[in-house]
Amino acid sequence: MSGHESSYTPNTGFEKWLDARLPIIRFANDTAISFPTPKNLNYWYTFGGILAICLVVQILTGVILAMHYEASIDGAFASVERIMRDVPYGWLLRYIHSNGASMFFFAVYIHMFRGLYYGSYKAPREVLWILGCVIFLLMIATAFLGYMLPWGQMSYHGANVITSLFGAIPLVGESLQTWILGGPSIGNQTLQRFFSLHYLLPFMIAAVVILHVWALHVPGNNNPTGVEVQDVEKDTVPFHPYYTVKDAFAIMLFLMLFAAFVFYAPNALGHADQAIEANPLVTPAHIVPEWYMLPFYAILRAITFDIGPIPAKLLGVIAMFAAIAILFVLPWLDTSKVKSMRYRPVARQLFFGFVVVCLLLGWCGAKLPDAPVIPALQGEDILVVSYTENGQEATSEYKGGHEAYVDAKRFMDSLPADSTPSLAAVAPKTFQFSQLSLILTILYFGYFFILFFVGLTEKTKELPESIHKSVLKRHKAPTATAVPAE
């Protein structure tokens, strides 16, 4: 809490001299050593520290990779291969950087879900939450720009799909798209500006992280009970050593997972098409973004119908951006005064449902929209004969194995010559991923709107009086008869 008194006393003459000129040691001490932190933070609260490590890892490896990377459409792909083969430890640095992006998003999603669960977005932490959303947005932009740089097939065509989204925006869309591309299509000029911005944005993230930590230190940490600190003596412990050690332990576990990917499955989260140099004339059969964008990609593709004058494409773009924009206004959508879901039985169930919806959206994003959700329920293909009759198009359907083919052929032969019949095998209608995506998209947005009404009517459980009372109760209740507290 910013209000807490500084516990720093400069001891040496140099410290006193510096403290009067630039009180940087005092600042570090009050921010990271003596900062009073709720004593009941669990391991879900370690992801902030983990994310700081992720950002440092990405910047360090990224700066080094930039020394060997060539931002030109003729040289980019080869320079990445050179990093992998010829640059000493280049393979390691690149695998850390590419897997680091995945680990970064993995950690940020847990961090965000933790904030959602414990109500960390509510007063007085709205600005803290919004700054976090800004960081998330910058992370998405940075990851998108960076994915272009290896100049693989998925780089090129993924960027093509995403930049064409901007073209769907009315009035300014095409100019905006031209500005992003710097020409009629993705070319050398696009790669160069993407590289420049990919280098810039992480430092903007770092700047917003500073604001984020500042905004955290004004009201202090939220905690699993959602009850604010009342007595600094009883409710808090100093950040060091209690949370430096707890965070460090979690960071070690996280780095082990990170290393497991880097050394044993460095390409598990990537896509095979990225190993092919970009070719503007051949689109990969199935364009998918990296896994961390899949839920948003599913929302983008979920809307396949026009609403009034708004075309489906624009609706998809609106829905995708709204899926992120709605996070910014969440502090005012959730009407409940109780922060933590621990004490909100209804909202808690909805929260877990929301997590499942997000995971399923990711699944949808990875699949072709017209693929069946449950392939076992998809029946046999139907043979459809299309022909023209009196200037009108008509169709005739045949089901059931090769007999249907014989029937269809006989029917085609019986038609007059000018009816231009053609035969096609069509999969029967079934529950498709595009339909599942639409349902999940509605549920995604529904969660935020339902929170508004649940907050007004929900009967919440009794809140603990204070953080330390809740801690004591948790440790006493099951062990009242036996084990003494350690």
């Binding site: 989204l165 689109t283 489906a312 053609s422």
Partner: protein, 190 residues
């Protein structure tokens, strides 16, 4: 601000002079920022060499019957399709009123120098109007359900006139600006 100055030195403060200095300084600063912003924003636009590479002469005489060639102009793909008589009649016999984006086949061709149409050659954009993927065609062995092109990304089907027939794409494949320089050479520009 006025309070402070009044307290500290109530004598000899010329408010008009001070305001003039503030406004003049602010105006120069604003002008400087605006002047830089023009350069910073304009540089996003396509450069002169990028714009110059936006048209191409293509020899269409080598395109095999029933096949197509694909050219890149300014990085954008274009299809030049040599249609068979059956494909031409399929494109012409469709009831235009039933199409999602109604256009007759003739509206999608450009006349030659003598004013007649070369119906055998269809020249269209090669970017699916949905999200810009490049559809597959006769060269890739898949022409979709309507004999034209099939977009593998999200399943849009185009007919032999490049018109959208089914799938998420909103409009027909656009026809680029092109003209017949001679019987066998077309000039295509963005």
């Amino acid at each position: 601000m006025t309070d402070q100055t009044a307290h500290s030195q109530d004598e000899g403060v010329d408010e008009d002079r001070r305001n003039f200095i503030h406004i003049a300084t602010g105006a120069v600063a604003f002008g400087g920022v605006a002047a830089f912003a023009i350069a910073a924003v304009e540089q996003w636009n396509p450069a002169a060499d990028t714009r110059a590479a936006s048209s191409l002469d293509v020899d269409i005489s080598k395109v095999p019957l029933g096949g197509e060639i694909r050219v890149l102009i300014g990085g954008k793909p274009f299809f030049i399709r040599h249609r068979t008589p059956a494909e031409i009649s399929a494109a012409e016999s469709v009831n235009v009123a039933t199409l999602p984006d109604p256009e007759t086949d003739e509206e999608r061709l450009r006349p030659m120098a003598d004013g007649t149409f070369n119906r055998a050659f269809l020249i269209t954009s090669g970017a699916c109007t949905h999200l810009g993927c490049v559809p597959v065609g006769p060269t890739q062995g898949n022409v979709g359900a309507y004999g034209g092109w099939y977009c593998p990304c999200h399943g849009s089907q185009y007919d032999t006139s490049g018109r959208i027939r089914s799938g998420p794409a909103p409009t027909n494949l656009p026809i680029p600006n092109y003209n017949y320089v001679s019987e066998t050479v077309v000039n295509i520009s963005l």
